[in-house]
Symmetry: C2
Subunit: 209 residues, 2 copies
């Protein structure tokens, strides 16, 4: 990992074009050749960057980074304040817990929270529109689009006389008011999930299978 503090201007030409006027910035060159241009504020997102795979051609006072599909990041370096490099080695990587996949797993083990007497019928149910789990669908954040999606699936399943009547339940930690309004207007039921409750509850439902 190479760290350069420099006064520079930056040009990007790819799907869009972007320019950065001259200023003091941090330039990061990673081991895979990717380049990041950071300012002293904003979010974790760089002002400009080039993702790997890419190639860095270094000339005096100018870096030209070329990406896989021809995008170019050009850094004009006016003054170098600092230029250091450290070998960091490979990173063991991040371990996450508590994302939607995990929530769905917990919900599949405890379908009772969706309503009294509710059970898990099928987790991956293929349909003509796309492969989904219909009987126990969940989402971390439910928007108006989620309502449309659920509505499509319910409608499709009701065309099958062997399954009909099928109802839809929107189960999520957060449901926007707009989504709730639209959902209830279309006959879908809304259930707010408590992630901590799901996690702490004993998985009695598993013994039913």
């Amino acid at each position: 990992m190479r760290l350069v503090i420099a006064r520079c201007t930056v040009n990007y030409a790819g799907r869009l074009t972007a320019r950065l006027p001259a200023a003091l910035r941090l330039l990061i060159v990673k081991a895979d050749g990717s380049v990041l241009v950071h300012s002293d504020g904003g979010s974790y997102k760089p002002l400009n960057w080039m993702s790997p795979p890419c190639r860095l051609a270094e000339e005096p006072g100018r870096w030209v980074v070329t990406g896989k599909s021809g995008e170019t990041l050009t850094v004009h370096i006016e003054e170098i304040i600092s230029d250091t490099a450290y070998p960091l080695g490979a990173d063991p990587g991040l371990v996450k817990d508590g994302v939607e996949a995990h929530l769905q797993e917990l919900l599949a083990a405890q379908p009772g929270v969706l309503g009294d007497g509710w059970r898990l019928i099928r987790r991956e149910y293929p349909t003509a529109i796309g492969p989904v789990d219909l009987m126990c669908r969940d989402a971390v954040g439910v928007s108006i689009d989620a309502v449309e999606q659920l509505c499509r699936y319910v409608e499709l399943l009701n065309r099958d006389p062997l399954l009909e009547p099928v109802g839809g339940v929107l189960a999520a930690q957060v449901i926007t008011p707009q989504a709730r309004t639209l959902a209830e207007d279309r006959g879908l039921r809304c259930v707010i999930l408590d992630y901590d409750e799901l996690r702490q509850a004993p998985r009695n439902d598993l013994t039913l299978f």
Copy 2:
């Protein structure tokens, strides 16, 4: 901007929890207090981070960064390889060109590409569902959700006897086959846009107004 190269472990607790095993990494502390943990590869996204506004409490061998809504990023520092700081000052910021707003502007000036005799009626048309421009809608990438959205608006407008009959046209540079199938099934017309053509064409349509 403070740059620290250190062997560290990192824990994040917020909407999710995440852990990083011990490894050599770059820690960035920006002027606004935000913290970024970068490895020597991957994308421009840090392995872990804390967005501003936040507060950094530094103890020997341990950083605790607390976010606005109580999330915490804890960095256990086992060994410091380097620790430097540079004042960079404010950044003039990025100038972009060629994104969707630009495309919509071009399309508004040349509604004829949507079909013969087509005109721009209204650009920002408020509806009960939300504020949208209905008569000349465009999108850079059209997915199945865009079809649903357009369908909602067309349906809503047709309830108004003063406007009815209203038809929908899906105009975009890219329309996925799934979206096209669904759109045509619902009576929506699909038009593929050529960005370069729109940009280069003389804006004759403007003289019509």
